[in-house]
């Protein structure tokens, strides 16, 4: 069983379109995250949710809207896609906030905006 699974793995779309990435974890963790990894491999946190509540929003444009229907799911919807949104988006989870231990990452969703 995959601990953190995200879909789709690949997304190719035109500028201006709207797209969603889904994430689910079966580890029973309380906290979930979205990270963006650019072409230089820099990993930047976008959002952090704890028990469905938004904890961290790292000055991400309003075009990005996370949704957590329950603590096992954290989806990411992106409106009006721009070229600069091209990146790999990683979902992750951890138990009771970052200090409690390790992050478990999904395999990533590679978004290409043309």
């Amino acid at each position: 069983d995959t601990a953190v699974s995200q879909t789709p793995k690949y997304l190719v779309t035109q500028m201006g379109n709207d797209k969603s990435i889904k994430c689910e974890q079966n580890l029973g963790h309380d906290t979930m995250y979205w990270y963006k990894q650019d072409s230089k491999k820099f990993l930047k946190i976008m959002f952090s949710y704890n028990n469905k509540e938004l904890i961290i929003n790292e000055t991400v444009p309003n075009r990005f809207s996370p949704k957590s229907p329950d603590k096992a799911h954290l989806n990411l919807h992106i409106n009006s896609l721009e070229l600069g949104d091209s990146a790999v988006y990683f979902c992750a989870s951890s138990q009771v906030g970052a200090l409690a231990g390790e992050l478990f990452f999904g395999e990533g969703s590679r978004l290409t905006v043309l």
Partner: protein, 109 residues
Amino acid sequence: GQQVMQIPQYQHVQEGEDFTTYCNSSTTLSNIQWYKQRPGGHPVFLIQLVKSGEVKKQKRLTFQFGEAKKNSSLHITATQTTDVGTYFCVEANDYKLSFGAGTTVTVRA
């Protein structure tokens, strides 16, 4: 912004040699984690260091947390081709893990 700085950004190593990657912060770190990301893969947790001066070993990998808790290092001995990837140090604080820029390691056989 980014709080932990990693050096070097790239490390080209001859198979069998040792190398070290360093992580530095201008502020005291509550704890530090290390992750490895293989090419095309996702970051995978290696270790967490919490105590001042802490040293932990995992086979050929040695992790160290500085006495002042402002720096950390990862030393790999007898590098193998399986060590290829990007190693990240990560500061964990209040539901937020801030990644360093990473050290990307390539190995010459």
